[in-house]
């Protein structure tokens, strides 16, 4: 055991020396997942409503109302068995055409203020557009494929409902 400890000690020492790295210069990078951002949002009357569309990462779900949290949780659970989800959704299955996908992002889309009326023509700037496969909307864990048009890294869609959404991306060879 002493031998093991001498090794651990060496490891610890190295780690300890490097504590100085805790003191990284501000502003050091913050962890960012891969949720999209609103590039453009226009309501049925042609008003710019981009400022009223809020996208919240699943990681920050605690900031959302209880029902929205539940919708995200149900979606997360459904996404755990992605193969079954694809298999059970004919539209999605046809779109993917047997190609392997993985969930890239899970997030909530909500609107702020009463003046924004749905539907909204929404353009989302994607983080990883090259491998974009599909956008799904979840209600009580049931996924619906959202029709999107992809151009220059922007996914255009009609936002009919607020709630839980997920982006699926094609898997690359290692």
């Amino acid at each position: 055991m002493k031998k093991i400890l001498s090794c651990l000690l060496a490891v610890l020492l190295l780690a300890s020396f490097s504590i100085s790295a805790f003191a990284a210069e501000v502003p050091s990078v913050e962890s960012e997942k891969q949720i999209p951002t609103v590039a453009e949002a226009v309501d049925a009357d042609g008003n710019d409503v981009a400022g009223g569309i809020v996208i919240t990462d699943y990681e920050d779900k605690d900031t959302l109302p209880e029902d929205a949290q539940k919708q995200l949780d149900d979606a997360a659970e459904a996404l755990e068995d992605l193969a079954a989800l694809v298999e059970g959704n004919d539209e999605l299955k046809e779109l993917l055409d047997g190609k392997e996908v993985d969930c890239e992002a899970l997030f909530d889309i909500s609107v702020v203020g009463d003046e924004i009326k749905l539907p909204v023509e929404l353009k989302l700037e994607l983080v990883n557009p090259d491998n974009f496969a599909a956008l799904l909307h979840f209600v009580d864990g049931e996924a619906t494929l959202v029709e999107t048009e992809l151009e220059d890294g922007i996914a255009a869609l009609t936002l009919e409902e607020v709630g839980a959404y997920a982006i699926l991306s094609f898997v690359e060879a290692e």
Binding site: L8, I19, S20, F22, S28, K33, Q34, E59, N128
Partner: protein
């Protein structure tokens, strides 16, 4: 009596046959099982060999100024990852909630021929290619970002460590990084208490954060105080990074002395330290691996800490460290390669 004898005579071959069948059956079962184990072992070895080939295949030879350099095979590499989070924030490790960064990164390179080991201190803000992982841990793309971000992908456990390993390998011109050992921040108060506290001199003014850390006095730090001492910056003295780094060095010196003293004094401390560390770490190293490493290192010389030069710039939002390519290549060649034989 005769009948009995006759009966025994009659039953003898039957019993023998049954016994033989049982023996053959057991034998066949054993052979089958052995064969299966061999097959499984062969499959494991094949998979490992394939993985190694994939992994090492890219940089077995490096050509610099017309000279070929071959990757050394007498090295072992261990990546030590310090995480910016606490164990209790990781109660539900998952892809969706992991936001840990690799806050400090050390690659320990063990040279089995020279019987020495060198640590490379990697800049957490070094810009490199990072693999983007999906929820199931599959590769869904790559991007250029700070090394620290590599741990953000995955569940925060082994998959994230492996992603960090891959990013470090890519950064270091594809040299192999074989093992990893990650530690969360709360290892500090744990270690502090395990060694019975560390005595430090309080130079800075902590009154706004923890009045028990009285300026100008020697204090034996307990639990959370240790973390406050090594981590706090804002509202402490001039709030500079420099003063915090000085504190950290002082603390580490004290901690090292305490650990060394306790290791010499008590056999049980060794066991206790090992078991406590396990609660704060994620690693692919087993106890046997650690024992083997310890066996190696006991007579090895520590060859020092190397860093790689570069320039830190403010990017769009955050600090980005751009590595000096010549310095990187020089270090990689020096530590990982040797001139290829003609």
């Amino acid at each position: 009596m005769n009948r009995a004898r006759k009966s025994r005579k009659t039953n003898g071959p039957i019993v023998l046959t049954i016994l033989l069948l049982v023996v053959i059956g057991v034998g066949l079962f054993g052979i089958h099982r052995w064969q299966r184990q061999q097959d499984e072992r062969a499959a494991e070895l094949a998979a490992a060999a394939e993985a190694e080939e994939d992994y090492l295949g890219k940089r077995l030879v490096l050509t610099v100024d017309g000279e070929d350099y071959a990757l050394r095979s007498d090295l072992d590499t261990y990546l030590i990852i310090g995480l910016d989070k606490f164990t209790d924030t990781l109660s539900d490790p998952s892809y969706h909630t992991n936001n840990q960064q690799a806050d400090f990164l050390f690659l320990m390179v063990v040279d089995k021929t020279a019987k020495s080991y060198t640590a490379i201190h990697l800049n957490r803000d070094a810009m490199t290619e990072i693999q983007r992982l999906g929820m199931s841990g599959k590769k869904i793309g790559t991007f250029t970002g700070q090394l620290a971000l590599s741990h953000t992908f995955g569940s925060g456990e082994k998959d994230s460590c492996r992603n960090t390993v891959l990013a470090v390998s890519r950064y270091l011109l594809d040299v192999p990084v074989e093992h990893y050992f990650s530690l969360t921040m709360d290892a500090i108060p744990m270690l502090n208490d395990l060694v019975g506290g560390v005595t430090v001199h309080i130079d800075d003014d902590f009154s706004a954060i923890d009045p028990s850390l009285e300026q100008g006095k020697d204090v034996r730090l307990k639990g959370q105080q240790a973390l406050t001492f090594v981590r706090s910056r804002h509202h402490v003295d001039d709030g500079s990074n420099l003063s915090r780094m000085n504190r950290q060095r002082e603390y580490v010196r004290g901690l090292y002395e305490q650990i060394t003293k306790l290791l010499q004094e008590s056999d049980s401390f060794a066991r206790s330290l090992a078991s406590h560390l396990a609660d704060f770490s994620v690693s692919d190293l087993t106890t046997t691996d650690l024992a083997n490493l310890a066996d190696q290192l006991k007579d090895y010389r520590f060859a020092g800490i190397r860093t790689i030069a570069g320039e830190a710039k403010l990017g769009e939002k955050y600090i980005e460290f751009y590595t000096d390519e010549d310095a990187l290549q020089s270090l990689v060649l020096d530590l990982f390669f040797q001139k290829a034989k003609a």
